[in-house]
């Protein structure tokens, strides 16, 4: 389904000059798009709520719950004015109901179990149908609290018929999630209040797939958060403006420049910037504990030599330098990154790679060919 995103990227060779031009599609790295069929004038989507075995980084298997085999669930992309029908099947062993977060729908379509509808029993389905009367960054999620923490969330992007101005050349979505998983277990502890795995679109750095843009392009990144923690997301090297929230497009003009935006629980934030500075720029949550994977104290014989002078320095050991390039793999998006680039890439982190057109085209060519980046 990511082909939709790729094609959207390809379909945006240059900024739309016309005010009536449609917006570019959204790319949600590492998360597929949900296909639809047409029933007359209605877009029909099919979602399955189900247990999903996934990997945060290669080898770190996690038994989460999601939709259609994906955690987060596949991205729904539609356009304001669309009539949409979503057939939701519950393949979980317990009751469930999905909520369309931020969308103005008839109350019987709201997905609040016991209030707007009975919860969907295991094996049963429920059909939601409504007309999209907004545009912006929305999401769908289980309205059972612990199921949310098992990963049950997905993007619901509603585009305006004509792109907002100034139109962006590239549009991305990143879903922020946190997890507590014991080191020898694969199942998240949804009751935990502290977390040891932080993910963007279901991957922890360095396994997150970088955002790749051409120098000079206008870029939007949509951030959504549905969890226990708020995340101050920081972009290196450039300043951005917030152009939208979970309620849709904000009223402009967007004067206040920032490089860190706090994405609170249940919020969405759209940030936009011009990728003026070439380079590989970190985009990450700035909570120190969210920049790590499976955090644990390294006190002990592996790190500390009792006879060494370092052992006498108060506070030692703190940080560990552990490049793990093999965890990132050889995705085309990693083309040209220096060796050991993963040493400080952990947790809720990714890269915004601002590249020259030739490099961009090479990455796109490798992606289209299904090839790996050269090491």
């Amino acid at each position: 389904m990511s082909a939709v995103g790729v094609s959207a990227q390809k379909a945006a060779p240059a900024r739309s000059s016309s005010a009536a031009a449609p917006p570019v599609g959204v790319v949600t790295p590492d998360v597929p798009h949900l296909p639809f069929t047409m029933d007359g004038g209605t877009k029909v989507f099919r979602l399955r709520a189900e247990p999903v075995r996934t990997e945060f980084v290669p080898g770190r298997v996690v038994d989460a719950w999601g939709f259609n085999g994906s955690v987060p669930g596949p991205t729904i992309e539609a356009t304001e004015g669309d009539r949409v029908r979503i057939i939701m099947e519950n393949r979980l062993p317990e009751v469930f109901a999905p909520h369309w977060h931020g969308l103005e729908v008839p109350v019987e379509m709201d997905g609040t179990p016991g209030i707007s509808q009975p919860p969907i029993a295991p094996g049963e389905s429920f059909t939601y149908e409504f007309t999209l009367r907004q545009n912006g960054t929305f999401f769908y999620h289980s309205h059972m609290a612990m199921q949310e923490m098992m990963g049950m969330i997905g993007f619901f992007i509603v585009h305006p018929a004509a792109a907002h101005q100034p139109a962006v050349d590239r549009d991305f979505g990143i879903c922020l999630q946190e997890w507590m998983i014991h080191p020898n277990n694969t199942v998240p502890n949804t009751l935990a209040m502290e977390f040891n795995w932080l993910t963007m679109n279901g991957k922890a750095a360095p396994a997150t797939t970088p955002i790749v843009v051409k120098r000079g392009e206008r870029v939007r990144i949509r951030l959504i958060n549905m969890g226990m923690d708020h995340h101050p997301i920081h972009l290196h090297g450039m300043q951005f403006v917030v152009t939208g929230t979970e309620a849709g497009r904000a009223a402009g003009p967007f004067g206040m420049r920032e490089n860190t935006v706090l994405v609170g629980v249940a919020q969405a934030r759209d940030i936009e910037f011009v990728a003026s500075s070439p380079g590989d720029w970190m985009l990450h949550c700035h909570l120190p504990h969210h920049m790590m994977n499976q955090m644990a104290s390294m006190v002990g014989p592996m790190m500390v030599d009792p006879g060494a002078p370092s052992a006498k320095v108060s506070g030692y050991p703190q940080d560990m330098w552990m490049p793990m390039d093999h965890l990132a793999g050889k995705k085309p998006e990693l083309l040209g990154l220096p060796a050991n680039w993963t040493g400080a890439m952990m947790g809720m982190m990714t890269l915004v790679r601002v590249v020259e057109p030739a490099m961009f085209d090479e990455i796109a060519r490798l992606r289209a060919a299904g090839r790996e980046a050269r090491s």
């Binding site: 014991h182 020898n184 277990n185 199942v187 502890n189």
Partner: protein
């Protein structure tokens, strides 16, 4: 009785009353072979006492004297009767020895009864505890099995980790092993009690007493006085001393001379004045003179043995006192510990468990603390039972005047 009614009644299995300590004690006193053996010793001593002090039998005989073959007729033909008459109190001394031996045998019988009683009491309470330990072991094993399942469920929701499962599995295996051990020890406890009441086939059945029976309150000085007064071992040692003392008297009496009396009568065929001399009589009497043998050795030996027996009796008192000291310390400390478990530790552990359980049942708290507090409760109950076991063993010893085998 109407036959059919009788058959109907006979067909109803008798609901035997739970085994009660007093009944078992009576049964043991009646049946135990060690007591029968000691009683036979008493009978033997009594029989010897009947024999003691009996007179030496008289000797009667025939005699022919002054036979002169060349003179006819000649010779004195007759008979005699001879009797040794023991003097100097020898007979009463012998009776005294026999009586003291009866006394000693009776003391040993009493001691034997005390030992049997100790065994019955100690093994009865050990069995009460063993039964309770078995039921606690069953609870712990079931609890460990529930913990295994709960851990599996906790891992399934990410709250627990795989090493927790291994720990729970190991704990469950340990509890199974301890359950098997408790079953083995419980069976042994039944066999030991069966042996104590001379009924080796005694089958497990309900017991009248339970671990909730209150431990007696014993006063140290009173108990020591009673133990020394009632101790079978002390009485046996005193009995042995009495025998030795009577033997000294007997040995001294042995020095005094016995009187030998002999009377004879006969017909003298010798002629005098043309007539047979005819009947003639004689009497002899004599005493032994303690000139060379005054039984010095026998008296000295018996005296030494009596001194030794007196020392032994004193040593037995010291041993009993020392054993009392240990048993009383064991009683006091184990009773204090058991009391502290009963009055404070177990109620708190039980309340902690009940609070966790109640909140879990209200669905406002998690299940693991329920299992953990339940495990603590049972584990503390095991400690309580160990203290009770020690305390009851000590009480049994103190109540049977330290008649510990």
């Amino acid at each position: 009785m109407n036959l059919i009614l009788w058959l109907a009644l006979a067909g109803v299995p008798a609901q035997s009353a739970p085994l009660d300590l007093a009944t078992l004690e009576a049964q043991a006193l009646q049946r135990h072979p060690a007591i029968r053996a000691a009683a036979a010793e008493v009978d033997a001593a009594k029989a010897r006492a009947k024999q003691a002090g009996a007179w030496v039998n008289p000797v009667i005989g025939a005699s022919a004297d002054e036979l002169r073959p060349r003179e006819q007729p000649s010779g004195v033909f007759g008979g005699f009767i001879q009797q040794t008459i023991p003097l100097g109190g020898k007979l009463s001394a012998a009776k005294g020895v026999a009586a003291s031996q009866v006394g000693e045998a009776e003391a040993r019988l009493a001691e034997s009864r005390q030992r049997v009683l100790f065994d019955v009491r100690q093994r009865y309470y050990a069995l009460v505890v063993a039964e309770e330990r078995l039921s606690v072991a069953k609870e712990l094993a079931a609890l460990a099995a529930r913990t295994v399942e709960m851990t599996r469920q906790l891992i399934n929701v990410g709250i627990a980790d795989r090493p927790d499962q291994l720990g729970a599995d190991a704990e469950a295996a340990r509890m199974q092993a301890r359950l098997a051990e408790a079953q083995t020890f419980r069976l042994a406890a039944w066999q030991r009690l069966g042996a104590a009441i001379a009924d080796p086939a005694l089958a497990p059945q309900p017991l009248a007493q339970s671990v909730s029976e209150a431990l007696p309150v014993l006063d140290r000085a009173d108990t020591l006085a009673r133990v020394l007064a009632e101790s079978g071992a002390v009485a046996s040692a005193d009995g042995a001393l009495a025998v030795q003392k009577s033997l000294v008297t007997s040995e001294k009496a042995a020095v005094r001379p016995d009187l030998f009396v002999r009377g004879d009568a006969g017909g003298n065929r010798e002629r005098a004045d043309g007539r047979a001399i005819g009947p003639q009589f004689g009497v002899e009497a004599g005493v032994s003179i303690p000139l060379f043998n005054r039984n010095q050795g026998g008296i000295a030996s018996a005296t030494s043995l009596a001194i030794g027996a007196a020392a032994s009796a004193e040593a037995v008192r010291l041993d009993v006192t020392a054993a009392f000291a240990s048993a009383f310390a064991e009683y006091e400390s184990a009773r204090a510990l058991a009391e502290s478990y009963r009055a404070e530790i177990l109620p708190k552990a039980r309340l902690a468990y009940e609070l966790h359980l109640a909140k879990y049942q209200e669905m406002v708290a998690a299940y693991p603390p329920v299992l953990q507090s339940e495990r603590s409760l049972f584990s503390m109950t095991e400690d309580y039972l160990a203290a009770l076991d020690r305390a009851w063993t000590a009480v049994s010893a103190l109540r049977t005047a330290m008649a510990v085998r």
